[in-house]
């Protein structure tokens, strides 16, 4: 019984972080057909800015987190305004944008390495202490991660489903030209989507660094996992990504508990291969994005 509680607690915590990391990636892909290789660096930047604001500038934690989230959104906006928007009309956008954003990722990672060095830092955005479920000690930090992820993902879902702003995003995702004909300013929609993705990524980065530590390469692993989740869920399916993330988190925790943590990731990758062979459109696969 304790084993199961343990697995669920750590699995759901992992899953919540993965979900937060994946939703933004799925959203940008679903809306504009852009696989953002710099998404992992948005996480890293969110984590480092929060660290700097709290540990170096001694700002209150709330402000530090807000600064981290803002930085994630700002880097996303900057990348869109300087690079992405000039590439949108290219026929081979889907391929070239991966190369371009990979370049941005390398650049940003090296800048962080140069400025902060390679030493891992401890993220000050933490809640100390534990409480018990049966014999299992649950860190308050896990609970905070779960609540934060749920609130942010819930807010994103609400935004997409219930607001006029979300309607514009969904219309653009389904058919760019038709959305334009309805008066949706799709270029602005793209910018907004990248900002949202940047903020969500930064939040994921802050949470991930609170469980591990800060390092310039900290975004790589979550980006690969987010990618795995998006492929398994079906690229572009936002709700599917959230559910898949939770399932994979619990699965990884169970594998880690029974076989050892080193098996978790390889099995995850094996799963992607199986999904790609048998369900290429993903478990929640939906119609292709139309960008003409």
């Amino acid at each position: 019984m304790d084993a199961i509680v343990q697995i669920i607690v750590s699995g759901v915590t992992l899953g919540a972080m993965y979900a937060l990391a994946s939703v933004g990636l799925a959203l940008t892909f679903g809306t504009m057909g852009m696989f953002n290789m710099a998404h992992g660096l948005f996480m890293t930047i969110g984590a480092y800015v929060t660290y700097s604001a709290a540990a170096v500038l001694n700002l209150p934690l709330g402000i530090a987190i807000l600064a981290g989230l803002t930085a994630g959104g700002a880097v996303g906006a900057l990348m869109h305004l300087v690079i992405v928007r000039f590439m949108l009309d290219r026929e081979d956008f889907r391929t070239t944008i991966m190369v371009a954003t990979a370049g941005v990722a390398i650049l940003l990672q090296d800048l962080i390495l140069k400025y902060y060095g390679a030493y891992p830092f401890r993220q000050p955005a933490q809640i100390e202490g534990t409480f018990r479920i049966g014999n299992v000690a649950v860190p308050y930090q896990s609970l905070a991660i779960l609540v934060t992820a749920a609130v942010l993902i819930g807010a994103t879902a609400w935004l997409l489903k219930k607001t006029r702003f979300g309607l514009a995003i969904r219309a653009t995702a389904m058919n760019q030209d038709a959305a334009k004909l309805m008066g949706v300013k799709t270029e602005r929609t793209y910018l907004q989507v990248i900002i949202i993705a940047g903020v969500l990524a930064a939040a994921a980065g802050i949470l991930i660094s609170s469980m591990a530590s800060l390092s310039p390469g900290m975004g790589t692993n979550p980006l690969i996992r987010a990618f795995v989740i998006c492929v398994v869920a079906g690229l572009g399916s936002v709700a599917g990504a959230g559910m898949t993330a939770l399932a994979l988190g619990v699965m990884e925790a169970a594998i880690g508990y029974y076989f050892g943590a080193r098996f978790g990731f390889p099995i995850l990758l094996g799963l992607v291969i199986l999904v790609l062979i048998f369900r290429p459109a993903g478990l929640f696969g939906k119609a292709e994005v139309i960008r003409s």
Partner: protein, 236 residues
């Protein structure tokens, strides 16, 4: 009377391929204009260029007294509406959501509701299917959603690309009935059709397009008298 839309010297095309070669065109207020001619000669390109989906390479367009801004979203907000070929519906949305997307740029909530009722009045089939996703509809029903969505924009100029393409005759009749009702005193319509016989009763002006030029223009009487000229183009 000043025309609703006045186009002078319009050239446009796709990437490096020029399709429209310096077109002049006037659309009077409250008229139905038919652009006819064989496929692949620039009829759809003309509509896309007016709607702003394609950039103008040369030329000028004045609409309702002002120069048209660049880009489809701003033109849509001015009242230039295109019902594109292949409908281009939002497939994962319901019929009603698609129709309401047509009114995206509008804020007059009550008039939008009245418009929605009008569309349902015109196409009762759509009322039955209002909560269905459009991906599950038949071709004719999709066409109705496409046209209905265009009507929901309540534009001053509505352009419809091949309203009858691939549809059963009965549905074509319904759709042309709808077009007739759509043309009112202050509303103008441009309709693209390969064959003029379908639009002959509805349209007041005809433009025959060939190789990116207007090869022939005239009214309904001219059309009847110029049967031979048209046959060479339309292979009738």
């Amino acid at each position: 009377m000043t025309p609703l839309l006045s186009v002078r010297g319009l050239s446009s095309g796709y990437r490096h391929q020029k399709v429209l070669h310096g077109l002049d065109l006037d659309i009077p207020i409250g008229s139905v204009t038919a652009v006819i001619g064989p496929n692949g000669h620039g009829k759809s390109t003309l509509l896309k260029a007016i709607a702003g989906l394609l950039p103008s390479w040369e030329g000028e367009m004045v609409f309702d007294g002002n120069r048209l801004p660049a880009g489809a979203p701003d033109r849509a907000r001015r009242g230039v509406v295109l019902v594109p070929q292949g409908d281009q519906l939002f497939t994962a949305m319901t019929v009603e959501e698609n129709l309401l997307m047509g009114a995206f740029a509008r804020t007059d909530t009550n008039a939008i509701k009245a418009n929605l009722d009008e569309v349902f009045e015109l196409f009762p089939r759509l009322r039955e299917r209002r909560t269905q996703r459009t991906e599950s509809l038949s071709g004719g029903e999709r066409r109705m959603v496409g046209i209905g969505r265009g009507m929901m924009a309540n534009g001053k100029l509505t352009m419809i690309d091949e309203p009858s393409l691939g549809l059963a005759p009965l549905i074509v009749e319904q759709i042309y009935d709808a077009l007739g009702k759509l043309a009112r005193e202050d509303r103008s319509i441009i309709v693209v059709e390969e064959n003029p016989s379908r639009v002959a009763d509805v349209a007041s002006a005809f433009l025959l397009m060939d190789g990116g030029h207007f090869a022939w223009t005239g009214n309904a009487d001219d059309l009847r008298q110029s049967g031979d000229v048209l046959k060479t183009y339309l292979g009738g």
